[in-house]
């Protein structure tokens, strides 16, 4: 039994009313790769930020090599031997400096001496680079290197600190197959040297290749730990996406005519093409891992980015939105995920946040806004969504996450539309608000098609008439939300099910 490099016990962290980590117990053994899986908002990045010294925990303890570990700043974590390679490769390097300066950046930051000894730096840099098999000239600017080499620079730099724990956050997301293989070889080498690896990823192929153990996170807690010779990948995904068979009470209405028909859709180069039909009256949920192409599908339908190929039609007419504004004019509405970044206007009150997309509905002569009309709409929507507030003039940021979410959903329910797309509308909201929002979406779903992208299986089961599974930027399965074969659904999510024969009948569903 290898020694534990790091032992975490009862770790908690809250942001305002939002409890992000609710007591994490986790050990990371030396010389093993522990894969951490979790949906958006599960708390992965908060956990990582505590380990690398960006956040301080509210409670709980972390032991590193048997000694208490409480870094006050990223530099403390680095000195103690906890190094992090970020998903965004450019976060780990200074692109305008040369390779040697980057490799020795931490020495430069803390070193004594005033003048640089270039010759000594290059020798030192060469030694560090050789240790990870990075073969580039020390004098080259990092900005001129490939992404993979840039990542190696940041790994090599981390290695110079004799790490005990290395955290890799989605490290392969922008690497080619050969580059990925080189990274994996390096990880094997680190394992052999007794470094504990915490590997965050949703790529099943990476996970199968590397994982010694899998830890699933959900709602700020560890929801499953899987180890042993034959890892239970589907179990790990199920623990991550969660499924507690809540009393799902979905009465599936008769679907109306087709609103959206798409044929031969390819969301990115190399993805398997698929067809899709979305009908009036029905609520369709899309389940899939992070990076499975859910958001890419939504963005193609909303005119944010065009699909690589494929034809779409809306109510039988060709549909090729050039921009979100164009899509809105044609009756396709879309609420993006990550509301604080993509939806909330922080300086606006509730009423103004609700009326934003349809301001012309409330304008009088000379485009002057009619306050009464705005207030009436805001009051109607606040009532319909059950937003808990004192009135439409409350600042949006004074609301809880769930109520903020209700406001930005209300924005798109205020006007009738043909297709409503909601991308992770339950992100960062409590279970009560989730049920509330879900019920209101279903209640208003007549006369339009509704597409809901879900982070968790429970959400999909609670809201949908039909569930589509996405994997590798294509549709891997379709299920009517009645007596669902969850094992098959999970297998499709993890891409371990045989591909369906011919994508054409997928969209029809019922």
């Amino acid at each position: 039994m290898p020694a534990n490099a790091i032992a975490i016990a009862g770790l908690t962290k809250s942001f305002a009313r939002n409890r992000v980590l609710r007591g994490i117990d986790l050990t990371l053994p030396a010389g093993q790769v522990t894969v951490l899986m979790g949906a958006n908002g599960a708390g992965k990045s908060t956990l990582v930020k505590i380990l690398c010294g960006v956040f301080r925990p509210d409670g709980g303890s972390v032991m590193l090599g048997g000694r208490p570990f409480a870094p006050a700043a990223p530099v403390d974590a680095l000195r103690a031997g906890v190094v992090t390679v970020h998903q965004n490769i450019n976060e780990g390097v200074a692109p305008d400096l040369d390779v040697a300066s980057n490799l020795l950046l931490d020495d430069l930051a803390s070193g004594s001496g005033f003048f640089l000894n270039r010759r000594r730096m290059r020798e030192e840099g060469r030694r560090i680079a050789d240790a990870v098999g990075l073969d580039v000239a020390m004098g080259r600017e990092v900005a001129s290197l490939s992404l993979a080499d840039r990542q190696l620079v940041s790994i090599a730099r981390a290695m110079a600190h004799r790490p005990r724990l290395m955290i890799l956050d989605e490290p392969t997301s922008s690497l080619s197959a050969a580059e990925t293989e080189r990274l994996f070889a390096l990880i094997e080498q680190l394992k052999a040297e007794g470094v504990a690896i915490l590997y965050i990823s949703h790529r099943m192929s990476d996970i199968r290749r590397l994982a010694d153990r899998i830890v699933s996170m959900r709602d700020g807690q560890i929801s499953g730990t899987f180890e042993g010779r034959d890892l239970d990948y589907a179990g790990a995904v199920r623990a991550m996406l969660g499924h507690e068979i809540t009393e799902v009470d979905i009465r599936i209405p008769d679907a109306g005519g087709a609103v959206i028909e798409a044929a031969g859709m390819r969301l990115r180069e190399g993805a398997r093409p698929f067809d899709l039909t979305l009908r009036e009256n029905e609520v369709v949920a899309v389940a899939g891992l992070v990076g499975s192409g859910k958001s890419a599908l939504a963005e193609a339908l909303f005119g944010v980015s065009a699909p690589v190929s494929g034809e779409m039609s809306l109510d039988g007419k060709p549909f090729r939105p050039k921009s979100p504004g164009d899509a809105v004019r044609q009756g396709v509405f879309h609420l993006s995920k990550d509301r604080l970044r993509n939806a909330v206007i922080p300086d606006f009150d509730i009423a103004r946040n609700i009326t934003l997309p349809f301001l012309s509905r409330h304008q009088g002569a000379l485009s002057i806004m009619r306050r009464g009309s705005e207030r009436a709409t805001a009051a109607r929507m606040i009532d319909m969504m059950g937003v808990v507030c004192q009135g439409p003039r409350d600042e949006i940021l004074t609301l809880s996450g769930g109520n903020q979410q209700k406001v930005v959903v209300a924005r798109w329910l205020a006007e009738p539309c043909r297709l409503l797309i909601l991308d992770e509308p339950f992100q960062g909201v409590d279970i009560e608000a989730r049920r509330d929002i879900g019920r209101r979406i279903r209640d208003s779903a007549a006369d339009r098609a509704t597409l809901v992208l879900c982070a968790e299986i429970d959400e999909a089961l609670e809201i949908a008439d039909r569930i589509l599974v996405m994997s590798e930027h294509s549709i891997a399965g379709a299920h009517r939300n009645a007596e669902i074969d969850l094992d098959l659904l999970m297998a499709q999510v993890t891409d371990t099910a045989p591909p369906p024969s011919g994508g054409a009948q997928l969209g029809v569903g019922t």
């Binding site: 809105v328 004019r329 300086d347 103004r352 806004m369």
Partner: protein
């Protein structure tokens, strides 16, 4: 919502207006002549041109941008107005139209540089500032433009400023007292009201504030973010060129040495405006008050015989205090900025 009297909240909202009222009372006690219609009009006139420029820069601040080229646009417009009349011998209407068109075009180019070429706003407008400062002097080889000036080919310029053009900067209306109200003050007030209505009450103003607050969310709500960004720079350029027209009409010549302070004074007025009524964001009313505040302060100090070289120091101090009001005090209320 109001839970009794909160002195901090009160200070944030009304502190700056109270400070201004206090200044007026203080100056009036120290120098009774300060409190007269003529003195008030003089203050307004002294801030008319910077005020108009400041209202333009406010539009760019609202969409989260910044326009450093306004001073150079104004002086270019002044030189163009003079060149058009003195050398090309155009009439007042043609000269004004030409200047406004130039301002709008410069604003459009600024907008395109920022939106389409993705040049950061400060750098794009700084570059435009240098470009215009040089360009406006090329046709006259660095000389000021006035009737009778020697032209490069040896002859003298025979054109004159049209009287109706000069009226724009010099005419005074009879309001209560004869020859009291300069036209330029009327323009300032009219433009301030128009910009205020545009930003606060129309759909377009609402959209511009949404862009300044969260441009991603605005784009995803179907708003043409780039179009409105460009519009803001066009408004800024057009108003700056109008300020230049008033300057040319007041001076009666194209003076290469004037207009040096326009940019900094206008920007100061717009930033002081953040503190008025605790808005903590760019707004037209605050900008107008900010311009007025600086005018009152300088007029009062001048009447108290303060030396001219203290002016910039005083302006700087006011600006710093206003920014503390805006960011330190109102930040405590938990307004989210990012």
């Amino acid at each position: 919502m109001s839970r009794g009297f909160d002195p901090v909240e009160f200070g944030i909202r009304y502190g700056f207006l109270l400070l201004m009222a206090g200044l007026i009372v203080g100056f009036s006690v120290a120098q009774p002549a300060f409190m007269s219609a003529r003195s008030a009009v003089f203050i307004f006139q002294s801030v008319a041109i910077t005020g108009i420029l400041a209202l333009g820069v406010t539009a760019t601040l609202v969409v989260g941008g910044f326009d450093l080229s306004i001073g150079a646009v104004a002086t270019s417009s002044m030189m163009l107005a003079a060149y058009a009349q003195v050398i090309w011998q155009l009439g007042a209407i043609e000269a004004v139209a030409l200047c406004l068109l130039m301002g709008a075009a410069v604003g459009y180019i600024n907008g395109v540089l920022i939106v389409k070429m993705r040049v950061p706003d400060l750098l794009a407008t700084l570059g435009m500032m240098f470009l215009l400062m040089g360009l406006q002097r090329i046709p006259t080889e660095g000389n000021s433009i006035s009737t009778g000036m020697a032209l490069p080919d040896g002859s003298n310029a025979t054109g004159t400023f049209s009287p109706s053009f000069l009226m724009l900067g010099r005419h005074r209306l009879d309001v209560v007292i004869e020859n009291l109200l300069p036209l330029s003050v009327v323009f300032l007030i009219a433009i301030a009201v128009l910009i205020w209505i545009f930003l606060e009450m129309t759909r377009h103003g609402r959209i511009m504030y949404a862009i300044g607050s969260n441009d991603r969310a605005a784009a995803l709500a179907g708003i043409d973010v780039n179009g409105y960004r460009i519009l803001a720079y066009v408004i800024s350029g057009t108003l700056a060129s109008f300020g230049g027209i008033l300057l040319a009409a007041r001076l009666g010549r194209g003076d290469v040495a004037s207009g040096n302070n326009l940019l900094l004074d206008a920007v100061a007025a717009a930033l002081i405006g953040f503190a008025v009524l605790g808005a903590a964001k760019p707004n037209a009313f605050g900008t107008a008050i900010g311009a007025l505040f600086v005018g009152i302060l300088l007029q009062g100090l001048t009447m108290l015989n303060a030396p001219y070289y203290t002016q910039d120091f005083i302006k700087g101090a006011v600006l710093v205090i206003a920014l503390v009001f805006t960011f330190a005090l109102s930040g405590r209320r938990g307004r989210a900025r990012h």
